[in-house]
Amino acid sequence: MSYPPDRKYTKEHEWITAEGTIGITNYAQESLGDIVFVDLPKVGAEITAGKTFGTVESVKAVSDLYAPASGTVTAVNGDLATSPEKVNKDAHGSWMVKVKLKDPAELNALLSAADYEKFASEEAGH
């Protein structure tokens, strides 16, 4: 699985575009297994880099979502409330929230696609 180079990645397995669109990575959906529940903040909510902003649940596991950057939620993917399995089918195409970034420079500290791919494969090897 290749990771699109048009965005940045976190070690907690989220991706974020320069415009502030956030989702989870293919490695994350694979580790979770069948996703059955996605709990996201409401439009207008403030999220803070490194802090949890939601939850994703598979049949077996509950995982927190960590904000890759700080900002204000401008849109939430309502589709995922009824069809959370879309994240399994296309993790990089299934965005979760869109955020108006407080400081776009925060993204500079995140991983590139190549660095994330390396990080994820190392983690999978453990």
């Binding site: 694979e30 580790s31 979770l32 297994g33 069948d34 059955v36 049949v59 596991a61 995982s63």
Partner: protein, 383 residues
């Protein structure tokens, strides 16, 4: 995103470990065992698919982590009767029954399936996490009987073939007439060329099926596993991991040690009293159970269905309508076949009536749930 993972120092492996790994199974530590939790989506598996295969077709499980204790000798029946709350005297040769080994206070050492294999020959199938404790318990509490106690856990690879098509699949590989074997009976026959193999019509999925016991060497175990999968192609058989095993048993309200039953929960509380045979004059725990029957219970196991959006998980608190803590969830999960979020929970008897409204605390918020009849799932009766 982060998932907590704990890596314990010593992990045991079944003879099929390499097979699971070569299939790409996601492995987890379960009660000291390195076990497959689910097989990869790339080969058509995943907990939901595995669960549905067992409800609608057939799935196979490596359950070699389960333990086996054999009691044989002139006083084997007396020994089993002393240890087990059910009445083993009712077992014909080839018959099995669900039961439990109890502490003197009426709480659980473990739940077991007691098989009567011969005139004075019994096999207890026990849980993985309680193997050593169970064996010591059985050994120490049967010294006064003329009977040999053997720990056979490592002698068997145990494979469960479960689902409405399980019998059709297994029948392709054995000369034993499986249609003649009733639920909770065992038979012996040639299986994949292996003579005199034990096959029991038992399982932990609330579905029809068999559990087979074969020699635990890797070569034999791998050959039989692969032959079962190959023979199952026409039924779209999938390998199933512990994830589906858990959701299947939860839909069927089958208890899991450390969750619905433990050394702190008695049989009345767990709602397993139909397996207590108080007409037996003596067994360990009997006096305490008699006393508990008169005193009544403080908590009782109920089935919950989530009404509002949210998934109850093991250990979550149960609240009453005003937000006061009244109990806890023992097992909670999405139910793949029923397509509901369900849970088993201990609550006080006054909250246990069907239809009672409660809340489950999920991430500091009370989410509405309701007490519903159990088992959540019951397999359709054959016509």
């Amino acid at each position: 995103m982060s998932a907590a993972e704990a890596a314990p120092p010593l992990v045991r492996k079944t003879a099929l470990n390499a097979v699971h790994r070569s299939m790409g199974a996601k492995m987890v530590e379960f009660n000291g065992w390195d076990m497959p939790v689910e097989y990869p989506a790339a080969i058509g598996c995943g907990i939901i698919n595995e669960h549905m295969a067992v409800r609608t077709g057939v799935g196979i499980f490596d359950v070699s982590h389960m333990g086996d204790i054999r009691l044989a000798g002139p006083e084997a029946l007396a020994a089993v009767q002393h240890l087990s709350m059910n009445d083993a005297a009712r077992l014909a040769i080839g018959q099995a029954q669900y039961s439990a080994l109890l502490y003197p206070q009426g709480t659980f050492v473990d739940d077991v399936i007691v098989h009567r294999l011969g005139e004075d020959d019994y096999l207890l199938v026990i849980n993985a996490g309680t193997r050593e404790k169970d064996f010591s318990w059985v050994h120490d509490n049967t010294r006064q009987f003329k009977c040999k106690v053997e720990h056979l856990s490592d002698d068997f690879t145990q494979i469960a073939i479960q689902g409405p098509k399980a019998v059709s699949l297994l029948q392709k590989l054995t000369d034993a007439d499986l249609s003649a074997v009733k639920f909770y009976w065992v038979t012996r026959g040639t299986l994949c060329g292996l003579k005199n193999m034990l096959m029991g019509r038992t399982g932990y999925t609330a579905e029809d099926g068999f559990e087979v016991y074969i020699p635990s060497d890797e070569a034999t175990s791998e050959r039989v596993w692969n032959e079962i999968l190959a023979a199952g192609k026409e039924f779209n058989t999938v390998p199933c991991g512990l994830g589906a095993r858990n959701t299947l048993r939860l839909e069927g309200k089958l208890p899991l040690y450390g969750h619905e039953i433990s050394d702190a929960i008695n049989v009345w509380e767990a709602g397993l009293d139909r397996f207590i045979k108080l007409e037996k004059p003596e067994f360990i725990g009997r006096a305490a159970l008699e006393k508990a029957r008169i005193e009544g219970v403080q908590k009782t196991l109920v089935g919950l269905e989530m009404i509002d959006r949210g998934i109850a998980r093991d250990g979550y608190r149960v609240l009453d309508d005003s937000g006061c803590e009244i109990g806890y969830v023992t097992s909670g999960s999405p139910a793949p076949f029923l397509k509901k979020n369900i849970a088993l929970a201990y609550v006080p008897p006054q909250h246990a009536a069907i239809g009672s409204s409660v809340q489950v605390e999920i991430r500091n918020q009370g989410v509405k749930a309701q007490v519903v009849p159990t088992p959540f799932y019951k397999r359709p009766k054959k016509v």
